[in-house]
Subunit: 209 residues, 4 copies
Amino acid sequence: MSGTYDLRRTAVLLVDPYNDFLSEGGKIWPRVEPVAQEVGLLGNLRCVVGSAREVGARVVFVPHRRWEPGDYETWDHPNPTQRSIMERHSFARGTWGGEFHPDFQPQPGEVVIHEHWAQSGFANTDLDFQLKQHGISHVVLVGLLANTCIESTARFAMELGYHVTLVRDATAAFQPEMMHAAHELNGPTFAHAILTTAELVAALREGAA
Amino acid sequence: MSGTYDLRRTAVLLVDPYNDFLSEGGKIWPRVEPVAQEVGLLGNLRCVVGSAREVGARVVFVPHRRWEPGDYETWDHPNPTQRSIMERHSFARGTWGGEFHPDFQPQPGEVVIHEHWAQSGFANTDLDFQLKQHGISHVVLVGLLANTCIESTARFAMELGYHVTLVRDATAAFQPEMMHAAHELNGPTFAHAILTTAELVAALREGAA
Amino acid sequence: MSGTYDLRRTAVLLVDPYNDFLSEGGKIWPRVEPVAQEVGLLGNLRCVVGSAREVGARVVFVPHRRWEPGDYETWDHPNPTQRSIMERHSFARGTWGGEFHPDFQPQPGEVVIHEHWAQSGFANTDLDFQLKQHGISHVVLVGLLANTCIESTARFAMELGYHVTLVRDATAAFQPEMMHAAHELNGPTFAHAILTTAELVAALREGAA
Amino acid sequence: MSGTYDLRRTAVLLVDPYNDFLSEGGKIWPRVEPVAQEVGLLGNLRCVVGSAREVGARVVFVPHRRWEPGDYETWDHPNPTQRSIMERHSFARGTWGGEFHPDFQPQPGEVVIHEHWAQSGFANTDLDFQLKQHGISHVVLVGLLANTCIESTARFAMELGYHVTLVRDATAAFQPEMMHAAHELNGPTFAHAILTTAELVAALREGAA
């Protein structure tokens, strides 16, 4: 699968680039690290985000809910991930772990979407609305995790009518078989393109030519 | 994981029970058959649907778009599954393959949702609305395919605030590793319960006691 | 307020053009007729739809639920309009009143959206999705009623990120003060343009030049 | 129209209770004041919120976007209200006008929804999700303005499957005819109950008996 991109209508969605996920010392980094190192996650994220800015494609930040005291406690049925967050306090607001990694900071004019409570960056947020107000029809998903937030955001994007691109080495997961599921088993049923970082960057540059 | 069910607030969502998926001679049955036979799909679907009706839980039909001439042809970017449907005409309207399997026919008063265009039974349909108008807070997903329509419908249900139950032997997929991905890798991150048919039926009967 | 339209990205949404609303002998026509005659509704609808087709803007049909036996009966809380439809059987499926007016028939390739249950053509339907798959960013709303289905569809369109145009003489309502409310009190808070048919047609032709 | 309320499933949605709307010195108070004084808005809001807390119905805060520098500037088509906010900086974040009125402060455990960009408290926010996670099926809308945010939130609530109650003297608008439009022309087509504060409080107490 390949992709061609009208850069005025393309956005890179950078999902959950928190220190807890991406930095040494982050709470979830140890579970992500093996796959992240194998695919070269940090370097590829820098490359995707840098290339998008260079060619003039929009970068949109899609952050998970930063944990606060009381979160989920009055809900009828938090999901398993949320129950686990109630214990480990991932992405806690006001802490270093809940800040974006220093290499992935919003630039002036870049949109930061409302925090999502679960997996999909579209669910219960202004992501679809902000994409429409900026004329976006094509989304490229990078960040974490391949089989949870990235996959749910991608599945929602397709159902909402967007053209969806996954980038197989600009994401990670807790286990290699989760990457396999995301990119070989599930992604091919709903995504319009599944590229490597190198292929994506080439396609973006082609769009800029 | 287990589940307890208030039967007045519980619905079984029966996804895509078409002859093309479930019957000898159906267009997609050959790709589903190995897993379906292994898990005992048809018997388990009969058991889930029969038990739900018996205890008074609502059964809701969640059908895929029945293919019609012209489908997807004017769209900017049909997804890979839709491009394939344009060739093989799955679930074609007016044909046997696009009828529900004879054992899975709506009973008087049972709700049939608008057809979904892609994978999620909630996307671009009245499923969420109909569930609310019938007081449903808990959904149990059965039917096809485990890693596409069932998984997307389940991911959407969780994001919409429903309690979500998967039934590991009342669904099927093209390959065993897709079942593994749905129930061991992805489902445990978003579903509130992942049961066998036997466990579900026991829980429904407990709810009726 | 004025409007400029990129015709490839503009759709006319024709809402509920049923015989019951628009034709002599229709069940609701007597309540619509005074305002319809005053603004020249039928002629203006023909003009808007004809002009859109002429210049190559897309015409999209947005139909209300056609009443069927059983409708709303199992719902927890049908709204007042739905309770009234349960008695008068407006737009009954399979009847002349539930057919589109003969002058407003879908042409080959024109999209007909899923039927909406209440007022908004976006709610519980595939309207947003179909607009995205056809590259639409600007919607022009015509049809019935100005303060119910047209207004709700317009309010939803704005919230979804679309540019919204109302056409003050290509709609009608049961009372003149409902037209006033729609176009002078409420519309100016959410619509991007409120035009006459003549102004709209001029703007569409300008877009085609 | 009357209403009966299961208090465990009922929420009062308090929309936009900002100083800019409700307090002497607020930026928009002068335009709201005549109608607010006439209906006794402040006293009625205190009465509705106090009664809800007393009987154990949930109070949910539904706040408008607090203006920040840069808001709407990169959007393709801000609506007329948003264009006006760009000039007058209503509900500016970090200012007194963008704080809730002192009598309407969230109590511990009360949910504050994501800020809405336009009129509907459901659009692009987590309101529907939070209501589901708290088992709510019935919503009572109070706050501002009757024909914009209250009406759009109410129209969306009905389309989402909720039972909707308007309270005719616990809201206000810029002109009396806007109140008339909201409660006599439009509300009766979509709302399940339109009550006075006194009638609502009696119904809530009945629910508590």
